[in-house]
Structures are given as structure tokens and as C-alpha cells.
Amino acid sequence: MNILEHTIVFMIAIPFLVASLMILTRPFPEIQKKLNVLVSIVLLILSVYLFSQVWQNGIIAYDIGDWGKYGIVLVADLLSASMVLLSSIITFLALLFSLDYIDDKSQNTTYHSLYNLLIAGLNGTFLTGDLFNLFVFFEILLIASCGLLIANEKVEITPSSHKMEAVYKYLILNIIATLFMLVAIASLYGTLGTLNMADMALRIGYMNENGTLPWHLIPTALLFIVVFGNKAAIFPLHFWLPDAHPTAPSPISAILSGILIKVGAYGFIRFYYLIFEGNLEIFQPIIIFLGLATIIIGSISAVGQDDIKKVLAYHSIGQIGYVFIGIGMGTVYALAAALIYLINHAISKSMLFLVSGCIVHKIGTRDMRKIGGLSSTEPFLGLMFLVGIMSISGLPPTSGFIAKFVLFDAGISGGFYIPILIAVIFSLFTLFSMFKSWQRIFWGEIKDNIFEKENIHQNSKTMLSSLVIMTVIIFVIGLYAEPLIAITLETAEQILDPQLYIDAIIPGEVR
């Protein structure tokens, strides 16, 4: 039997196992680091393999314990496989960055263990085909990210009290949102008698056809906005993010902004487009509306920040809004555009957080009022930051341009003129605040005494190498977008045909 058949479950099992291993290897910090990098590479390779399998052979379902739809099923369709691949890339690069950036003591206690559990949580979230299991993985994600958020950087930049406050908000707001998830799952289970998402879709599809869909399933479905919206940090559920993302150590900020908030977007797609496919006309306008509100609040707030990482954090809110209007528009092209936007943001924003990590590492402050003229001493970081902000602002020849272009094109060709108009107008704010921040950091007079601090550290080659890799990805997508667009179009078509998903898990049943 081919061991690679179990790739799906390896994506979760390996990080689980390694997490415990990381506790045992604590006396050997160097081995621990190398081991974790190795595991990350293995997971990256496996996720590429998984993706290629799904690409060639269609959706793969994996029964845990062979109970079929009665137990828990892991499913890799193009959407989840590409999300897993994306998260493997981001977590690998952020890990590389961590090695010389995170305080050794933190690394040596629990960092690597928590890191692996976060990866397991991400992969589990994307791969599970069971709604309650999704809830469990959400919990893992939440607690693991809280643990990582309070890890120490080598530079003492954020006081522990700030971190604790941020974690507290993050934790409380997310736990309350998950409480509603529990209520909503209970409601679905009470009415549908199943937790398997494919089975749910099948049953709701049947009820929609026969007009027997009980009314309370619509409020139940709407309750999931609280859950996924909170994960995705859309307005007005974003309030935890501007505290949590900037206070986290930069590689963790990169993961939080890069991939963790995308879990919410993934949830929206999976939940509404699979399970409530027949009622989409109710949800789509709501999603567009929330997306636009998120764009407006995020982009305006970002302009008013003096903290580099806060600017980036607010932009994450604004940018996730663009993903949501793509999800809400719901054509094949629009969904593909939303995914491209999501992927672009994951890479560009992670990269910007890592660059700001380099700045912080060197300068010891996040306050742009105290930084200036860095271009003369740090031209490389200036260039990297410029590439990142060009991509976030949607300027060519970066991946961000492709994302903005396809999203607007999808909106206009779908006739969504007003949402696109608003999105276009607020893109200007994004461009303005991004370039303004860049100018504040890298142009102007060099502020005295920034380099006099005791705490300055040189940016190591490993740290910079992860930046370079991300830059290469940004340009490759920007200059040759065809493969990505083709893949996402295929993915969107698969999303819009839930029967494919259902067939893979419950063969032979037609709704």
C-alpha cells in the first residue's frame, strides 16, 4: 500500500507528533530549530504533492477510522488543497525568519511546539469535512496563536502588559464568537441529524427542492457570520485585530495576517457555497455589504496610524474586505478573483510584516515618528518594503496588481458597478497610506539616536532570505499570472458545483 495515500492525514498528524517531540528536544536548541525547519519543508513538499494529486485526480476524501459520513472525514478539494499549500509556504518562510528573530529563551521553551500545533490547526481547519471538527480545529488555532502571540522577540519592543491585553481581547472575543458557533452547530445537527458537511449540503439541497427547509436554518446560517467574520476580522468584528497583530512577534504577525484571517474567508466560502448553496441569494448581498464596510473602515483607519505594524494590521482588515466582495459576487470569475486576492494578500502582507520585523530588529521601535531616512542605511529593506506596498496597493508589476485587476474586472463584467466603485475609491486610501508610511520610514532626515540603542541586532541572512523568496513569488505572479488564474478559475468552478464535493464523500447520492 502506498504510504502517500495518507498524505491528507499526515498534514495533521506530523505536526501533532512533532509538537510533542519539540517538548522532548528542549535541551538541544539547535537540533530543535533544524528539526522544525526540516519538518516544515517536509510539510511543504507534502502539500505540493497533495495539491498535485487533487489537481490531477479530483477531490480526495479520507475517512478517519473508515466510518464514512458517520465519522469524521478529511477532504481535500482544490480550495482546501490550495489553502494548505499557501499556509505551508507562509509558515515555512515565517519559521525561517523566526529562527534568528525570536528570543532564544522563548524558542527554547514552547515556541516550536506551539508553532507545529498552529500548523496542525491550520491544516485541520482547511481539510476537515465535518462541521464540529472544524470547531475543534478553530479552538486549536485560537489557543496556539495566543501562545505564540506572547512569545518574546530578541528586541524588547512590546511590553508584556500590552501583549497580555491584546491576547486577552483576542481570546475573549473569539471565545464568545465560538460560543455562537456551538449554538449554530447544535441547531444544524438538531434539524439535519448530521455533522458531515457534504451530508448537510445534501440534506439542505433536498429540503430546498421540496420546500421543506425550516425557517430557523436561515438565522442559524447567518449566525456563522459571527464565527467566520470574527476569524476573518471583517467589520464590525475586527476589533481584536489592531491589538493582536501588531503586538505579536513579527513572524507570528505574518502568519496571523497572512493566513489566519484567511481561515474566516475560507469558512465563508466552504459554509455558504457548499452547505447553503441553494440560499446563496440571501447571503451574497450581505457578504458584499460587510466586505465594503470592512474596506472603508480598514482603509480609513490605516491612514491614521503612527505604528508601522498597526498600519499593516489595519490594511489587513481593509484588504480582507476586497476578498469578501469577491466572495459575495459569486461568479466563477469573482470567486477566482477573491482567491487570487487572498493569495496575494497572504504573501505580500506576510512579507511586509517580516520587513517591519527587520526594521524593528534593527531600530528597536515601531513608531514611525521616531524613524526616518532609513533608505541611506538600509536600502535593501527599503526596496523590499517598496515591493510589498506596491503589491498591497495593487501597482504593477506585482501580484497585487493582478489581484486587483481580476477582482475589479470580475466585478465590472458581473455588473457590480457600485461595489467596485467603492472598492476603487478606497484603493486610493490604501495607496496613500502605504506610500506615506514608506516615505516616513525610509525618506526624510535620519532621526538621531535611532542607532544608539543597546538593543540593535543585525538582520541575519536567514531572515532576509525569507523576504527574498516572498519577493520572488510576488514578482513571478505579477509577471506571469496565467497558472495562478487558471488554477483559481478551476477551483472556483469546483466550488460552484457542490455536487462534486458531495460525490467524493457520499458516492451515489444525488440531491
Binding site: G190, I218, P236
Partner: protein, 790 residues
């Protein structure tokens, strides 16, 4: 050589070497300027190579598939119009880089300077040769970005930072986004991004003009062009762009980049022109801008500032002429516009180079501090006079000819529009001409004539070396040549360019003397009035200064600064309105959405509530437990000190355990009671360390509000759960039936809860174990890694 290959090389050689420049600079040191100029020259020669084909009236169109999924190709489309701009970009680029080798001090960051210029040059050439709109847009934005970087070349100067940001916001941001949206609308109408396809297809052009989106499309594309060419309200970025090194201003902000907008107008001319909207937008904006900018130019004391306003005004001529070409003779305005585009590039670049020379030698650009330099800088003086007189429209220079054509076209369009335009438009044209004449004379007079301003000028001022004079002299020579022999540019450059716009072959006759015409009369009037205005020059400038002091809000810059200058402060206020701090406020939207998710379907979607059967048959002992549950819940909420409140909460937990017993689930009851015991113990241990009573008193209104919210959320959840417990909808059945039937058979387990936990849904259990593990790790991390730090 294969012609498309030559074009592609002309585009990408500058890009390729731009990347290499920093490395080459280490080898060739400050000679990097000559190296870069060579690249410009090669690009220019490559274009010369393909020009015979274009002059013959052919076009080069070649494309390869690039992003086929969304219908975007990578292609080149070379016609007379694009070749004209590309010649300017590479030719003037070469001259500028040669000039810069002397102008830029060796202490400057030369690698960065030439890198940006080469990137710009490549982008500009790439932009004009793009065969589809998306590709055009990509290069278009690249020119804006490189312009941003060049304006901010001296990046520690606050004015550079300001000017760079302003240009980026207005050109790449405002204009760029408008253009992109316009391009996408055009594609929504036509179904293609390909420019030649649209140009060649008459039925498509009719379709566009009749489409509902026509006006929006035209408007957005026009905004893009106007922002780039500093027309209409967007002009405000160009004066601030003068913070760039002077050769850059000469190259980007007078000769090439600002022509990109005009190029675009020329490119979409066959698509949109012939409509009223086109005339009003393009010609209207041009006419207003040329007068306003010409008037504002009089106030400038910095010669570069003066040239900036004059550029805006001159570009407006071209814009207006492209707008004219609607009625009787479509080619008249296009010919005049295209010719003036070429002429402006030559004489304005000359003047900028002269300003650079003057500033380099006399160490000032302030017209009040200059004067009387004709004897010390004779060659410079001659070149400057040629440039300025050409701008003023004095024969026999090329500016005279295109000015005449401008008048002719203005009379023509006015006549075709009838009253009152037949007088109004020629009058506006003459006023613009008068203003141009006045400030052109000011440049010569202010710098070179009159008395030497010994107070401000250095003791010794002299002509610069041939390296700096050469490029200016070459351009001035072209100015004279094209003026005396207008048939040279006409047949080799203008005819192909115009036929690229009007899409048919054309032959233009032009000569220096063309008889006593209305235009000639207008020119004479212009000179006469110009001299009168020039006498009042200082009075007008002073009046403008006074006016500005009295009415500081009567300016576009004021509003720009209000919006973008104070943006950080204003945005901070807005963001603080939302980001208030206390967690209680953040919980509100969560519960609000929960409430709305029930109300929304009922009210907005008017979903019918399905009937429901209630079951009130509860034994009395159960009823007691339920009453106790409610009591403890209320107590937990109202008791004003921590410890009793915690006890009430745990009592609630135990009572729920009892409910599980009623429901015949002993395992659950045991689990619940154990968990409750443990949490109570931990809770009490922690709570005993903090003060026992609430310090803050909650105000009444907040209290009532919170009670209302809590009750609404509770009823929401209650309502949903009430319906959710009505049983599985037919014909489906719950998976729990499967568990009941198969648990012994498949797993051998008799306790179904255990079987579910460790068999059917074991991954959930594993996950929950991991959560506990994680919590432990988190706490350990908190205690361990934090203890020994200061």
C-alpha cells in the same frame, strides 16, 4: 533585424540594464552616466531602424499569449503616434543622460539616479507600444512610480517627499485607478483588451458610442489622461514635481511622461471622438487649463516653477486640439495637436536644460536674483532665446507654426459650433497665446537681459562645458530646423502619427509663409497684446500674490492639503471612534449580529415561522431544578461581590449536571460535575487574591441597556434552539441511529458516549486533548520565559 524583435529590445534593454546599473557602477564608477546614455542611444537607433516601415504607412502588430484565461496578450503595436512618443522618450532620454553626466555631482547616488531614469525610459517606450489596454496600464503605472522615485530623488528634503507623494496620489492613484476602471468598462462593452481590434472594427466603435456605459468609460479614461498630463484640477502635482533634479524635470515632466496622457487621448481618439461628451471634456478642459495655468505662470519667481505652469498650459493646447477634431475637418486639430506635441517637447526640454545650466552656474533659479547674464553666458543666451521665442510663437521657429495651426483649428471649431463659440474659442486661444508670449519674454529678460544682479550672483559666471551645452544646442537646432523646413517633420513624423490617430493616410502641407490669413492676424494681435501684458507683468504677479493672501482657500492646493495633509489626524479621529478600548464595546457588535441574524430573516425576508408543538409535561422534581437554574443564573448576574457570584455560577453548573441525569446520560452528568468542581476550585483560588467587591458602579442606563441586550440574545438563542429541537426533518434520520445500531457490532463498545468519543469521532477528542496541551504550553511559556526578563 526582425522588426518586432527590435521593438522588444528597445523596450527591455533599458529595463535589463537598469537592474545591472548598481553592479556596473562599482566597475565604471561615475562614468555610469555615459553607459546609461548609451543604452538610450541604442534604443533610439533601434527605433530609427523600424521607422521606414512606419513612414511607409505600415503598422507593426505582433502579440503572444500572456494571460489567456482573462484574455490579456502581450503584444506590440507600432504606428506613427506611438513611434513619435517613443522617439521622444529615447532621444531626449539619451540627451538628458548625457547632460546629467556633468550636471549631477559625482557625490550623488548616481547608480540610483540612472537606474530610475532607465526604468522610466523602458516603461515609457513599453507604454506607447503596448497593444492592449492592460499592458498599457502596467507600463503607465510604472512611469508614475519611476516618476515618484525621481521626484523624491533627494529624499531627505521635505519638499521632495511632499512633491513625490502628491504626484503619486494624483497620477498613479487617482488617475491610475480611474484609468484601470475605464479600461475594464471598455472591455465590458467590447469584450476585448486588444487596442488594434477595437481600432479596426467600425461596428465596435458604434457599439461603444451607443452603449449605456459610454459616458462613464470615456470619463474615467479621460480622468486618467488628465491626471497624468496635469490637466484640469489635477495640474497641482506638476509644480511640486519640480523638486526633482532639473534634467529629470526636463525629461519626465515636460518632454515625455506628461505626454503620456496626451498619447492616451490620441490613442482613444478614434474610439470616442465625434461625440459631444468628447468635445466638452477634452477641448473644454484644455481651454480652461491653458488660460488658468498661463495666468498662474506669471506669478512664479522660480524659473522652474514658471516652466512647470507653462508646461501645463502648453499641454492644454494639445489637449484642446485633440478635443476639437469633431466636425468639419477631423484632421485639422489632430495635425495641429500632434505637431505641437513634438514642438513642445523640443523647445520645453531646451528651456529646462537652460534652467539647469543657469542654476548650475549661477547657483540660483530665482528670477528676481538673476539678470544680465547675456555677456557672460553668450551661447546659453542664444539657445535660451531660441527656445523661449519658439514657445512664444515667433517665426521662423517651430512654435510659430504650431501656434498658427492652433489658431486656425480654434477658429474652425468655433465656426462650426456657431454663436457664441465662433468668437469665444478664438478669444480664449488668443488670451492663452498672449500669456505664453509674456512669460516666454520674461524668461529671456529675467535671466539674460537688463542689469546684472551683482548682489545675488556669484562673481564669475560662464558658459558650461560642451557636455551640458551640447544637448541643449541639439534641441535648439531642431527647433530652428523644424521651423524653417516644416516639411521634414511633417512627412517623416507628423503624417504617420496623424494617420495613426485618424486611421487613414493623410498628406499635410505646411510652410513658414502661408499668406495673409486670420491666424496671422491673430498672431499679430497676440504679439501686440503680449507686449502690453509684459509691461504690466509685475503688477499682475503682485495682484496674484495679494489675492492669494486674502483668499487662501481659493486654491486647489488648499483642498489637497486639507484632505491629504491632515489625513493622518482626521483618520486617527475616525479610527478612535471605532477602536474605543473596552472589550464590552467590542462584544456589542457580536451580539448585535446574533440578534439581527434572527430578526433579519423574519422582518426583511419575511420568512414564515413554521408551527411548533410545545411540551409542558414536566414532572414536579424537574421543574424545581429548572427554577433553581433560573434563580442561580439571575443571582450570578446580580450579586455585587465576586465569591458568591462564582459560587452561584458553579451551582448553575451542578444543576445542569442534574438535568443530564434526568436525560439518562450519567456519563455526561459525571463529566459535568467533575469539570464544574475543578473550575470552581481554581476560580475560587484565583478570586480570593483580588478585591472582593466591584469597585465601579454601573450607571442605570447602561445597566438597563445591558439587561435588554442579554435578554434579546438569550431569546434569540432560545428561539433557534426551540426550533432546532423539533426533530430531524423527514425523510432523513440522525446519524445517532447509526451509532446505536452499529456500536456493538463494529466497535464492541456498549457505552455509546464512549464509543463516539474514542471511535466514531476520535479526531475531535484528540483535538480537544491538544487544546488542553496547548493551554498548558501557553501558561508554561508565560511563566517560564517571562520570569527572568526585566
Amino acid at each position: 533585424m526582425n522588426l518586432p524583435v527590435a521593438v522588444v529590445l528597445a523596450i527591455f534593454l533599458p529595463f535589463f540594464f537598469a537592474i545591472l546599473v548598481p553592479y556596473l557602477e562599482r566597475i565604471v564608477k561615475h562614468n555610469i552616466g555615459w553607459f546609461s546614455a548609451l543604452i538610450g542611444l541604442i534604443s533610439f537607433l533601434l527605433l530609427v531602424l523600424i521607422s521606414p516601415e512606419i513612414i511607409r504607412g505600415e503598422v507593426i502588430h505582433y502579440s503572444v499569449s500572456w494571460i489567456p484565461s482573462v484574455g490579456v496578450d502581450f503584444g506590440i503595436y507600432v504606428d506613427g503616434l506611438s513611434l513619435l512618443i517613443a522617439f521622444l522618450a529615447s532621444g531626449i532620454g539619451f540627451l538628458i543622460m548625457a547632460y546629467s553626466t556633468e550636471y549631477m555631482s559625482h557625490r550623488e547616488d548616481l547608480a540610483r539616479y540612472y537606474q530610475y531614469i532607465l526604468l522610466f525610459m523602458g516603461s515609457m517606450i513599453g507604454m506607447v507600444f503596448a497593444s492592449n489596454t492592460i499592458q498599457l496600464f502596467i507600463f503607465w503605472e510604472l512611469t508614475s512610480i519611476t516618476s515618484f522615485l525621481l521626484i523624491g530623488f533627494w529624499r531627505n528634503k521635505p519638499q521632495s517627499v511632499y512633491g513625490a507623494k502628491k504626484s503619486l496620489i494624483l497620477t498613479a492613484g487617482f488617475g491610475g485607478l480611474a484609468l484601470l476602471t475605464g479600461i475594464l468598462l471598455l472591455r465590458a462593452i467590447t469584450g476585448t483588451f486588444d487596442i488594434p481590434t477595437i481600432l479596426a472594427d467600425e461596428s465596435l466603435k458604434v457599439l461603444i458610442k451607443e452603449h449605456d456605459l459610454f459616458l462613464g468609460t470615456l470619463f474615467l479614461i479621460f480622468i486618467g489622461a488628465a491626471a497624468k498630463s496635469a490637466q484640469g484640477p489635477f495640474y497641482i502635482w506638476l509644480p511640486n514635481a519640480m523638486e526633482a533634479p532639473t534634467p529629470v524635470s526636463a525629461f519626465l515632466h515636460s518632454a515625455t511622461m506628461v505626454k503620456a496622457g496626451l498619447y492616451l487621448i490620441g490613442r482613444v481618439h478614434p474610439i470616442f471622438s465625434g461625440t459631444e461628451a468628447w468635445l466638452i471634456m477634452v477641448a473644454g478642459t484644455g481651454l480652461v487649463t491653458m488660460v488658468v495655468a498661463g495666468f498662474l505662470a506669471l506669478r512664479q519667481t522660480d524659473i522652474k516653477g514658471l516652466l512647470a505652469y507653462s508646461t501645463i498650459s502648453q499641454l492644454a493646447y494639445i489637449m484642446a486640439m485633440y478635443g476639437y477634431t469633431t466636425y468639419q475637418d477631423p484632421s485639422l486639430g489632430v495635425v495641429a495637436a500632434t505637431y505641437h506635441l513634438l514642438n513642445h517637447a523640443t523647445f520645453k526640454a531646451t528651456l529646462f536644460l537652460i534652467v539647469g545650466i543657469v542654476a548650475h552656474e549661477a547657483a540660483t533659479r530665482d528670477i528676481k536674483k538673476l539678470g544680465g547674464l547675456r555677456k557672460e553666458m553668450p551661447i546659453t543666451f542664444v539657445i535660451a532665446t531660441i527656445g523661449a521665442l519658439s514657445m512664444a510663437g515667433v517665426p521662423p521657429l517651430n512654435g510659430f507654426l504650431s501656434k498658427e495651426m492652433f489658431y486656425e483649428a480654434s477658429v474652425d471649431i468655433g465656426a462650426s459650433l456657431g454663436q457664441p463659440y465662433n468668437l469665444l474659442i478664438p478669444m480664449i486661444a488668443v488670451i492663452a497665446g498672449v500669456l505664453t508670449f509674456a512669460y516666454s519674454i520674461k524668461i529671456i529678460d529675467g535671466i539674460f537681459l537688463g542689469k546684472r544682479n551683482d548682489e545675488h550672483l556669484p562673481k564669475k559666471v560662464h558658459d558650461p562645458s560642451i557636455i551640458m551645452l551640447g544637448p541643449a544646442a541639439i534641441l535648439a537646432f531642431i527647433v530652428v530646423l523644424f521651423g524653417i523646413f516644416p516639411s521634414i517633420p511633417m512627412s517623416f513624423i507628423i503624417e504617420p502619427a496623424v494617420s495613426g490617430i485618424i486611421l487613414e493616410d493623410i498628406s499635410i502641407y505646411a510652410s513658414l509663409w502661408h499668406g495673409f490669413t486670420v491666424e496671422l492676424l491673430m498672431t499679430v494681435v497676440t504679439f501686440g497684446l503680449g507686449i502690453i501684458i509684459y509691461k504690466k507683468y509685475d503688477a499682475i504677479a503682485n495682484w496674484q500674490d495679494e489675492f492669494n493672501k486674502k483668499h487662501p482657500t481659493f486654491s486647489l492646493n488648499y483642498y489637497y492639503d486639507e484632505i491629504f495633509g491632515n489625513a493622518t489626524e482626521n483618520a486617527k479621529k475616525i479610527s478612535l471612534k471605532f477602536q474605543v478600548g473596552p472589550i464590552r464595546a467590542y462584544l456589542f457588535p457580536i451580539v448585535l449580529i446574533a440578534i439581527l441574524s434572527v430578526l433579519f430573516p423574519i422582518i426583511i425576508l419575511s420568512v414564515e415561522l413554521t408551527p411548533i408543538t410545545f411540551n409542558f409535561e414536566t414532572p414536579p422534581y424537574e421543574l424545581i431544578v429548572f427554577i433553581l437554574i433560573i434563580t442561580t443564573a439571575v443571582m450570578a448576574a446580580i450579586i455585587p461581590s465576586y465569591l458568591p457570584a462564582v459560587i452561584a455560577v458553579s451551582a448553575l453548573g451542578f444543576l445542569i449536571g442534574i438535568v443530564f441525569i434526568f436525560l439518562l446520560a450519567p456519563d455526561l452528568a459525571i463529566t459535568q460535575i467533575l469539570a464544574e468542581t475543578l473550575t470552581t476550585i481554581i476560580f475560587v483560588l484565583v478570586i480570593s487574591k483580588v478585591p472582593q467587591t466591584f469597585k465601579e458602579k454601573i450607571p442605570r442606563n447602561i445597566l438597563y441597556r445591558d439587561i435588554l441586550i442579554s435578554l434579546t440574545v438569550a431569546s434569540t438563542v432560545f428561539l433557534i434552539m426551540l426550533y432546532a429541537t423539533q426533530g430531524i426533518i423527514e425523510p432523513f434520520e440522525s446519524v445517532s441511529h447509526y451509532f446505536l445500531e452499529k456500536s456493538i457490532l463494529l466497535t464492541g463498545g456498549h457505552n455509546i458516549v464512549n464509543v463516539i468519543l474514542v471511535d466514531f469521532r476520535s479526531l475531535d477528542t484528540l483535538g480537544e486533548i491538544v487544546v488542553i496541551f496547548l493551554a498548558a504550553l501557553g501558561v508554561y511559556n508565560l511563566l517560564h520565559s517571562r520570569g527572568e526578563r526585566k
